[in-house]
């Protein structure tokens, strides 16, 4: 495989803090290997900036293996960049060409305010989870794993929804700033399991109410969230969220 080093131009959103107005800064980066990950490329830029006595670009990252949901970035008009079903940390520079200009922006949503540069506040997701995204377990002996049989299809669908890493790409991509896919994934993964059914009605109502309270928008079924979700979570889970929520409300 050809391994030609690339020279790129980065247009990066810089913002000192949540209150100050931000703007784009342009930085050239040179000698980038196609096998470099996107975040490593920003590390290289930051190293250069530090050596030049400038402030490095702040960005979120943690595990760098696509499971923690910490990395974000809106790259050239796509959440987590141009590749499909991956997070930014798994994006490699071979997806770009020598001489490219890459625009890097933070997630944009009223519920995800920018903290600094490319870092946004995503505590809203934690608050939604705290409202009901869990199963209460009474203490006691460890139950036998086979005591509650679960059909394979249900377990599969539950696990598909549970793959959500809470990165916020759905909100960042949605033209309405809606968090419906995130909430649907959480509600759906528990709704498909017997353990989650006990609190299903309360959970759907509490999580939707918290989502609305935190200023997320209304879903209009564009499906952009599903297209950009690094875990490929389907909007069919949103239909299940509606079923759970509406049946709970009609029972009230």
């Amino acid at each position: 495989m050809e391994n030609k080093l690339m020279n790129l131009t980065l247009k990066v959103w810089r913002q000192k803090n949540a209150k100050e107005k931000g703007g784009f800064e342009t930085y050239p980066v040179e000698g980038i290997s196609p096998d470099t990950s996107f975040l490593e490329m920003i590390d290289i830029l930051n190293n250069k900036l530090i050596h030049e006595g400038k402030e490095p670009v702040a960005f979120d990252h943690d595990c760098r293996e696509g499971i923690c949901g910490m990395c974000s970035l809106y790259i050239n008009g796509h959440a987590h960049g141009p590749d499909s079903e991956i997070t930014t940390c798994q994006l490699h520079m071979r997806k770009f060409r020598d001489g490219d200009t890459i625009t890097i922006e933070p997630w944009r949503s009223a519920a995800f305010p920018v903290v600094r540069d490319l870092v946004v506040e995503r505590q809203a997701f934690d608050k939604i989870l705290q409202a009901g995204g869990f199963v209460n377990v009474n203490t006691g002996g460890v139950p036998d794993a086979n005591a509650i049989p679960i059909p394979k299809e249900d377990a599969d669908e539950s696990m598909d929804a549970a793959a959500c890493i809470g990165c916020g790409a759905c909100v960042a991509t949605c033209k309405n700033g809606s968090a419906m896919l995130f909430v649907a994934a959480r509600v759906s993964s528990l709704a498909k399991l017997p353990q989650g059914k006990v609190e299903a009605a309360r959970r759907a109502k509490a999580m939707v109410a918290k989502m609305d309270e935190l200023g997320f928008g209304n879903c209009t079924n564009t499906g952009a969230c599903q297209a950009e979700c690094p875990k490929g979570i389907s909007v069919s889970h949103i239909a299940r969220l509606h079923r759970e929520f509406l049946s709970a409300k009609f029972k009230d």
Partner: protein, 228 residues
């Protein structure tokens, strides 16, 4: 007092859009079939027009229909305003289309407003010359026709090329609106799953094409007849 969930909750508001939309889809389907009658027989079409004149049930249905339109449009505008606020004041500098996202799904408000504008023109052309005349106690509309003589009115309106053009553009906007709207009404009321997602999208496209195709056919056929 706590407001009901169809006002206070985003899922509830979506449900209202779904139910009001479903009601309008049924009406549009009925209207398309009714227009199709005009292709077969002018007498049969005029009989339908007479049934839908100034009768109490037709008036009641008209009022319910107007209510449905008001709810759907009102909620649509309200939701869009909320969504713009939720998106935040700073927009992305670079945006690209995501795969599988239809153009109509992102432009439902604009398409809906075009549909509404067309509706105003349509009501001026037909409703104001038919049911309204009867409601006012008249027996003859501005064109000197019997208000129940829908067949002659269609022939008159669609003999003008500019009306044909306006209606075809209107139908185009309605087709785009329906292709997203029909599967969405199932999705928003929770009647969807992984298996039915592609099926319902297909049903929506076929349904929209049949209904809008029938509307367009009537307009084109009457225009061609006027040329002969």
């Amino acid at each position: 007092m706590k407001s009901p969930f169809i006002v206070s909750s985003s899922v509830g508001r979506k449900f209202v859009m779904s139910i009001s939309g479903a009601f309008l889809v049924l009406f549009v389907t009925f209207h398309a079939v009714m227009n199709g009658v005009a292709l077969i027989s002018a007498e049969a079409y005029n009989w339908v027009c007479a049934v839908l004149g100034a009768n109490w049930y037709a008036i009641a249905a008209t009022l319910v229909l107007a209510g449905g339109v008001l709810v759907h449009v009102g909620y649509g505008v309200w939701l869009t305003m909320q969504n713009r606020k939720a998106r935040g004041s700073v927009r992305y500098a670079v945006t690209e289309n995501s795969p599988g996202v239809s153009w109509s799904s992102k432009n439902m408000l604009v398409l809906g407003l075009v549909v509404l504008l067309g509706l105003v023109v349509h009501l001026t052309h037909f409703w104001a010359q038919m049911q309204l005349v009867e409601l006012m106690g008249g027996h003859e509309n501005a064109l000197g026709l019997d208000p129940a003589d829908g067949a002659s009115l269609i022939a008159f309106v669609f003999s003008k090329w500019y009306n044909v053009l306006i209606y075809l553009v209107w139908f185009g906007a309605m087709w785009f609106h329906l292709t997203h709207g029909i599967w969405s009404m199932f999705q928003s009321s929770g009647l969807n799953n992984q298996k039915w997602l592609p099926r319902l999208k297909c049903v929506g496209n076929v349904w929209a094409t049949l209904a809008i195709g029938l509307f367009a056919l009537v307009v084109v056929v009457f225009f061609i007849k006027s040329l002969l």
